[in-house]
């Protein structure tokens, strides 16, 4: 009976964050025109990237690392779908801290950083559900090959979801810098470019120089895009397990850092108009 009570208690604690995710998902779906616009944008980006890789492969002949042209295009579709579904929280956190609207969240019985993670996940999941079929359809259209296995797809979904959690945590971590510095945009810009380069958005880490590969290996950025996308087009159980462990450790580290940062920041909070 007592055990049941504890379970029920914990379930309620978890349920509140899942509800935040659900509401955020619903809120993201309220503008169908915006969704259509973003899909056109995704199509254009993929078209440009595909054209670019075609030119590179035609001058390179046999392929790059273990990538064929078709695998590369599916890889790009996988990373782009994740990238465009990433957290949009930075600007919101920044404005909430600056305007003092954060007060509304601090008087509620939840842990604000976790609230933000689930809020971000709700909109990211909606975004990915809409974008992924489009990205894969475009890839299929351009390659006329299905570079996707069931294992690959499932590992992409799992690693992609965890990648989005990590992305949300890093974005929130940067967003909370607004407690200490005037503008968080430059810091976020650096993070964004990390995802572009050593995070494997534009070029898979495998075909980069050895030194950059090593740097990328020791940083968490590759878990957001590169690892889910590689697992998707080139599934291997070992790589999947290693990625799962890596991304989980990165999430725990970022959760700890973000919680510490929030704890320090909330002590020095001052709000305009009180």
């Amino acid at each position: 009976m007592k055990k049941k009570g504890i379970w029920r208690y914990n379930l309620r604690k978890i349920q509140k964050y899942l509800e935040v995710m659900k509401i955020s998902f619903l809120s993201s779906s309220s503008y169908s025109r915006d969704v259509l616009g973003s899909l056109i944008f995704l199509f254009l980006i993929l078209f440009i990237m595909f054209s670019l890789w075609r030119v590179i492969f035609s001058s390179n002949g046999s392929g790059l690392a273990h990538f064929t042209l078709s695998k590369m295009l599916w890889y790009v579709a996988s990373t782009e779908a994740l990238m465009l579904s990433g957290s949009k929280l930075r600007v919101r956190i920044d404005s909430e801290i600056r305007s003092g609207n954060i007060a509304n969240f601090l008087v509620k019985p939840f842990f604000y950083p976790l609230f933000l993670v689930f809020d971000s996940l709700g909109s990211s999941i909606f975004s990915l559900i809409i974008r992924l079929p489009v990205a894969f359809t475009v890839a299929l259209f351009f390659t006329l090959r299905l570079e996707l296995t069931i294992n690959g797809f499932l590992s992409y979904v799992i690693l992609g979801f965890l990648g989005l959690v990590l992305d949300a945590l890093i974005t929130i971590f940067i967003g909370f810098f607004a407690f200490f510095i005037e503008d968080t945009a430059p810091v976020y810009w650096i993070y964004n470019k990390m995802l572009f380069t050593i995070g494997g958005l534009l070029i898979p880490v495998d075909i980069m120089p050895e030194i950059i590969k090593k740097v990328s290996y020791y940083l968490p950025f590759r878990f957001v895009l590169y690892n889910p996308a590689i697992s998707c087009v080139n599934f291997s159980l070992n790589f999947f397990i290693a990625s799962l462990v890596g991304v989980s450790i990165s999430i725990l580290v970022m959760l700890f850092l973000t919680s510490m940062e929030f704890s320090v920041a909330s002590r020095r909070l001052s709000i305009n108009g009180g």
Partner: protein, 351 residues
């Protein structure tokens, strides 16, 4: 929570109402100092400050003490920058004070913020807690989970609040399509869903039109009376204070300059009324006992009534004889004037 047996004036100078009731808020010598950057004038000084930043302290609260009893409705009043919002934000656990103690429902707000959140409701007039793109019913459902309410009790509570605040027709309309008054009513419902013991209201009627303001006041009053929810209100609007609270606390520059009965404040310090008149035709002058002309232009006149010499009714009945009135507004003196009067007469009243 602590019970008290007596108290009108304690040795700390804290004015206590409903002394037999339990205290739900106890504040002692609360201070809050903000540190701000000093910006000097001119290009060179501005550039110098890039290398060497100077800071200065802003004392938002200078050691305030107050008590609030269960079921009471206390109003904080004061001009901009007086420390009203800072007080509310410390008592709700949002801000850490620089020094002093506070006890809200037996908890230290800034240490037990999450625990306290289950027992209090907060409405900030200029900030919304509702999800902008979704109808209010979705936000209510979310908050029922956040406050860990049982589905059955949530439904029952929601139905009651929907009826009291008359929001049934807006429940399924996206928040972005609601008027400010309608939105505020939904904000109240959201803050009361979990049966809070104390309702903190920071400028709850700001920006509302006259009708919406009056409606909001009636509803807050009803919740205070029927559910015995303690109301801790801050406002610029003297009408909010008059209609909602018996006890008022006047803050100025971070200090309490008056703490006591609203009627004593009114009769003791609001000894003047300002009348704005528009007449069709001006007959004679305004040589009326206790009435002085502040401004006169064509058919518009601004008058000041000294209530120590003449009552408002007497003055108005004399004024209307001076011509056919197109428009008339009667206002209280500004808060600044009331505070000035309090300072001038400080010592005559329990401060």
């Amino acid at each position: 929570m602590t019970g008290t047996n007596s108290a009108i004036n304690t040795d700390l100078g804290i004015f206590c109402y409903n002394s037999v009731m339990e205290k739900v808020i106890e504040v002692r010598n609360l201070r809050k100092t903000y540190v701000s950057k000093k910006k000097k004038e001119g290009f060179l000084n501005g550039f110098k400050s890039f290398f060497k930043t100077e800071y200065f302290d802003i004392e938002a609260l200078k050691g305030i003490s107050l008590d609030v009893s269960e079921g009471e409705s206390l109003a904080l009043i004061g001009p901009n920058g007086a420390g009203k919002s800072t007080t509310i934000k410390i008592l709700t656990g949002i801000l850490y004070p620089t020094s002093g103690t506070a006890n809200v429902l037996g908890l230290v707000p800034w240490k037990d913020r999450v625990k306290l959140a289950y027992q209090i409701g907060v409405v900030f007039g200029q900030r919304s807690q509702l999800w902008y793109h979704l109808p209010p019913i979705d936000s209510f459902s979310l908050f029922s989970k956040i406050y860990e309410l049982e589905e059955k009790s949530y439904r029952k509570r929601l139905n009651k609040l929907v009826e009291i605040f008359e929001i049934e027709e807006y429940l399924n309309v996206p928040v972005r399509k609601l008027s400010l008054g309608e939105r505020m009513r939904c904000e109240f419902v959201l803050s009361l869903l979990h049966n809070p013991k104390i309702l903190f209201l920071d400028e709850p009627t700001i920006g509302l039109d006259v009708v919406a303001k009056s409606k909001a006041r009636d509803l807050i009053k009803r919740i205070n009376k029927e559910e015995r929810v303690t109301v801790f209100l801050s406002s610029h609007d003297t009408l909010d204070i008059e209609s909602l609270s018996k006890r008022v606390l006047v803050l100025n520059n971070g200090s309490i300059v008056y703490q006591g009965d609203i009627n004593t404040l009114k009769h003791g310090y609001m000894k003047k009324k300002i009348i704005d008149l528009k007449l069709k035709e001006l007959k004679g002058d305004f040589d009326i006992k206790g009435v002085s002309v502040l401004k006169r232009k064509d058919y518009g006149v601004k008058l000041e009534i000294n209530l120590e010499e003449v009552t408002q009714d007497e003055a108005v009945s004399e004024i209307i004889k001076r011509g056919e009135i197109l428009d008339i507004t009667i206002e209280d003196p500004s808060l600044e004037e009331v505070i000035k009067a309090i300072y001038e007469e400080k010592g005559n009243l329990e401060v």
